[in-house]
């Protein structure tokens, strides 16, 4: 009876996950290694070394790394700033972060085009009021640094959400204890706060890296492929704008999945250490 119930209650979900998540994931690997005629080939994996893919890979890693570091720092800073005595501020920032971390993709791209695009409001304002010509001085929303500015809009809130529990876990007694023992503020921050904050901050930064690396809609709507990034190249290989090359797309996707696996593995290793620490 129990066995039957087990099958009835969880069978459909397990079947669904197997058919539409696990098998397709394995299929990515299979497609990347298949020559299309039932044989194996390393052609598509080797093609990842071609300059166009290498550039895209470098761009993606750089962009994800930059926005993860900046987002990690700024998100942690925001978590400290909002963790004051006044509860409403922390609550408002949390609520907004929940929205902003989920407000990404095409609408986010257009919100920034309206702000910092060539005819954007801020661009116009800086030009007319302060005589500062952003686009004349080399900035473009549709370039690398433009993307960094846009990505931070969802990276900072995500980091804030990750770091808030850790920052809230810093007890006031610890500061008093440190001060009572004669610690300077500098010593308190470097010897007490930093060791407590660093592991979750590192884990959060890794999460941010993966988050940025897999972003597709935002750079698609912003750059239309002008800046080569791995997700965009997977998209165009699958979509076949020029010539559909699903196997090359699969090889690129395989590289992405491998990178996500490594970063998520690191994240969980760190998280486990952190939670063990917190229990003590």
């Amino acid at each position: 009876m129990d066995g039957l119930n087990r099958l009835l209650f969880s069978g459909p979900l397990l079947l669904f996950v197997g058919a539409f998540l696990l098998l397709p994931s394995l299929q990515i690997g299979a497609s990347a290694l298949s020559d299309g005629h039932g044989g194996l080939t390393l052609r598509y994996i080797e093609a990842l070394g071609q300059p166009q893919y290498r550039t895209a890979f470098q761009n993606s890693v750089l962009l994800s790394g930059t926005t993860a570091l900046l987002g990690g720092l700024l998100g942690t800073l925001l978590a400290f700033l909002a963790s004051g005595r006044r509860g409403w501020l922390a609550e408002a920032v949390t609520a907004f972060s929940g929205v902003a971390a989920n407000f990404a993709g095409v609408p986010l791209a257009f919100a920034f085009i309206a702000t910092l695009g060539t005819t954007g409001l801020l661009t116009q304002f800086l030009k007319q009021a302060l005589g500062l010509d952003l686009y004349g001085s080399g900035f473009s929303l549709f370039s690398y640094w433009g993307l960094v500015v846009v990505y931070l809009y969802f990276q900072i809130p995500l980091m804030f959400l990750v770091m808030t529990p850790a920052v809230a876990g810093l007890r006031r007694e610890w500061r008093e204890a440190a001060e009572g023992l004669g610690a300077t503020p500098f010593q308190y921050w470097t010897r007490v706060v930093l060791p407590l904050i660093l592991p979750p901050a590192l884990a959060g930064t890794i999460l941010l890296f993966g988050n940025a690396f897999s972003a597709y809609a935002t750079p698609y709507a912003l750059t239309s492929g002008a800046l080569p990034l791995i997700p965009l190249q997977i998209g165009s290989a699958l979509q076949g704008n020029v010539a559909a090359d699903p196997q090359q797309g699969a090889a690129l996707a395989l590289g992405m999945v491998a990178l996500m696996l490594v970063s998520l593995g690191l994240y969980f290793a760190l998280e486990r250490r952190n939670s063990r620490w917190r229990q003590r």
Partner: protein
Amino acid sequence: MIRRLLLALFGLYFLLPLLATAVYSLWAGGNRYDLSAYARILAEPQFRSTFTLSLILAVETVALSLLLLIPAVFWANLRWPGLRTALEVVSVLPFVVPPIALVGGLTALYKGPAWWIGTPQFLIVGYTVLALPYTYRALDVGMRSIDLKTLSEAALSLGSGWLGLLLRVVVPGILPSMLSAALLTLAIVMGEFTFANVLLFNTFAVFINYVGQTQGTGAAALSLLSFGLTWLAMIAILRGSRQGQLSLGGGR
């Protein structure tokens, strides 16, 4: 003092794009500002068709994910802890295999039948996977907040069947969690771009992108609308549960 200044700078960074989008969406050329961009967009036949399509897909995704997950999470919490561990792992997978990678695997694996993969209904599969971590977490929190064991024993000993227990006892007990899962799924599906764009289906997000290539003010209006939708869903969820939901691999 420094703290206030920094907070103000953060506020500026996060609010300015919204403000600019609002102003831009009202701009009617020159120095005129009115609601013409909104009127134009709402009159567009594609607006109605794509919005409706995304809404239908969202409702179907909500139905499918709740149908699949409620029984499984119920059973995992009541009788089968091993399944819980498995579900925890599964709810991380959509992050490891992001939408842009998963869509490649799906299209390579399923090449037919045409009545399924040739219609937007194919998207529901991917959307359910996308929503799975959120739905699982919401339902799990809900199930743990009710005394599942006692309730089940009481219902079963009073002669209820398993189906009656699930529908008349468990579901009413976790309604808030179901609602918050449904709203988050709604927000995700309404804004989802990756699957739809690669598979060439004309959903709401694809339409926003299309409008953006041709008329800036219309795109600003639609972006604001989309942001409002996310806001509404988020407020409703925060009202429902105190625990903030993390975002992993949504519609970026």
